[in-house]
C-alpha cells in the first residue's frame, strides 16, 4: 500500500465518502425512496439527488479553490447546505 502514498486528509476524505454511501444504503433499506419532482427540472430519487449534490459539491470546491482566495471550509459549508437543500426540496 506504500505506493498509494496515503495522507491523512485523503484517507479521511475517502472514509467520509464510504460512510455516506453506507448511510444512504441503510436509509434506503429502512425507508425506500419514492421518485418525485422537486425544484429540479427532472424527477429524481433520493440517490439521484445525493449524486447531484456530490457532483455539484466537487464543482463548488474547484471554483472556490481555483478562482477565489476564500477558505476551503466555506466551500465545504456551502456544499453541505446545498446538499441538504437538494435532499429536502430537490
Amino acid at each position: 500500500m506504500d505506493w498509494m502514498v496515503w495522507t491523512l486528509p485523503t484517507a479521511i476524505f475517502f472514509g467520509v465518502i464510504a460512510l455516506l454511501l453506507v448511510v444512504m444504503t441503510t436509509w434506503e433499506l429502512v425507508s425506500p425512496t419514492r421518485e418525485r419532482r422537486g425544484f429540479l427540472p427532472i424527477s429524481t430519487t433520493r440517490g439521484d439527488r445525493f449524486f447531484i449534490g456530490m457532483l455539484s459539491a466537487a464543482y463548488i470546491h474547484l471554483a472556490v479553490v481555483g478562482f477565489t482566495s476564500l477558505s476551503l471550509w466555506l466551500a465545504l459549508g456551502v456544499s453541505v447546505v446545498w446538499m441538504l437543500v437538494l435532499l429536502r426540496w430537490g
Binding site: W3, M4, T25, E28, L29, T45, G47, D48, F51
Partner: protein, 297 residues
C-alpha cells in the same frame, strides 16, 4: 381490360398524362437511385483511399516510395511482409496483442454475463447508480490512470505480462459488455426464465443451457466490440509492457530510426493490423447492425 382502347379525345389525353407521369416518376426514381449510389460510392472511396495508399506503399521498396510518386506499385515486392513474418521481434508483437485481446474477451465476458442479467431482470439498491458508475469508467480517459496503473501493476508483480494489459482493458471493456448485453437480455421475455424455474432448472443450469443460447447473437456482437476496443487501444498497452508482452503498436515505433523512417515496413505492419479486424467483422456481419444500437432499437 375494359379501357384498352380510348373512345374519346378526353380519355386519350387522360391516358397520355398518366403515362407521362409514370415515366417521370420512374425517371426521377432511377435518377435518384443513381445519385444515392454515387454518393454512397463517394463515401466508400473516401474510406478506402487512405487504406489503399497504405497497401500500395506496403508493396513497394523504400527506394520506389521515396522516388517518383506512383499510383500503384511498379515493381511489386513482398519483401516488407517477409521481413515481418521472419523476424520474431516483429511477429511476436502480433502474437502478444492477440493474446491479451483474447484474455480480455474471456475475462470481460465471464463477469459481464451475470452482471448484465442482474441489471436486466432485477431491481436492487443502487442499481441505477452502479450502472452509471460503470459507464463513467468507459468514458474515463486512460491518460488519467496511466501512472497509478504503472505503479499498481508493478507492485503486484504483473508488469510486462499479457494479463496486466488484459486486466487494464477491463476498465472500459466490462462496462461496454454489460451495457450491450443488458440491451440484448432485456429483449428476451421474462416468461422464459419463469417457465424454466418452474420446470425445475437451477439458476446456473438455466443460465448456461437455456439463456445463453437465446442471446447467442448478442454475445457474438459483444465479443466483436470487446475485440475492437481492446485491439485499437494503445496507451495503456504500451505503458504496462516493456519487452515480454510488447503489443504490435509499440513494435511499430521501431520503424523510425536515426537514418529515417522505414516506410515500407511501417505500411506492411499497418496493413497486418487491419487484417484481424476484417476477419472478425466478416463473422458478425449479419448481427452487427443490431449490435451497433447496443441491442436497443
Amino acid at each position: 381490360m375494359t379501357d384498352a382502347t380510348p373512345s374519346s379525345p378526353d380519355q386519350v389525353r387522360q391516358r397520355a398524362a398518366k403515362e407521362a407521369a409514370r415515366r417521370r416518376r420512374q425517371g426521377r426514381s432511377t435518377g435518384r437511385r443513381l445519385r444515392r449510389g454515387l454518393l454512397m460510392l463517394a463515401y466508400i472511396v473516401f474510406v478506402l483511399l487512405p487504406i489503399y495508399w497504405l497497401v500500395n506503399m506496403s508493396l513497394q521498396t523504400n527506394s520506389e516510395i521515396l522516388g517518383e510518386l506512383t499510383l500503384w506499385p511498379q515493381s511489386l515486392t513482398l519483401a516488407n511482409y517477409a521481413k515481418i513474418f521472419t523476424d520474431p521481434s516483429w511477429y511476436m508483437g502480433y502474437v502478444n496483442s492477440i493474446t491479451y485481446v483474447l484474455m480480455n474477451m474471456a475475462i470481460s465476458m465471464s463477469v459481464a454475463l451475470p452482471a448484465a442479467y442482474a441489471f436486466s431482470r432485477y431491481r436492487f439498491i443502487g442499481d441505477k447508480h452502479l450502472f452509471f458508475w460503470l459507464l463513467t469508467n468507459m468514458m474515463a480517459p486512460p491518460a488519467v490512470f496511466l501512472l497509478p496503473y504503472f505503479q499498481l501493476y508493478y507492485t503486484v508483480g504483473l508488469f510486462d505480462t499479457h494479463i496486466a494489459v488484459a486486466l487494464a482493458h477491463c476498465l472500459f471493456n466490462i462496462p461496454l459488455a454489460v451495457w450491450i448485453l443488458e440491451g440484448f437480455m432485456s429483449s428476451v421475455p421474462k416468461e422464459i426464465d419463469e417457465t424454466a424455474f418452474i420446470d425445475g432448472y437451477s439458476f446456473p443450469r438455466f443460465f448456461v443451457q437455456v439463456f445463453i443460447p437465446m442471446i447467442r447473437s448478442g454475445i457474438g456482437v459483444t465479443l466483436f466490440f470487446l475485440f475492437m476496443f481492446s485491439w485499437v487501444e494503445l496507451l495503456l498497452a504500451r505503458t504496462l509492457t516493456s519487452t515480454e508482452a510488447q503489443p504490435i503498436a509499440s513494435v511499430m515505433t521501431r520503424t523510425s530510426t536515426a537514418s529515417g523512417i522505414d516506410w515500407g515496413t511501417l505500411a506492411a505492419a499497418g496493413v497486418l493490423t487491419i487484417v484481424p479486424g476484417i476477419v472478425v467483422v466478416f463473422f458478425v456481419r449479419h448481427h452487427i447492425a443490431k449490435g451497433f444500437a447496443l441491442g436497443r432499437t
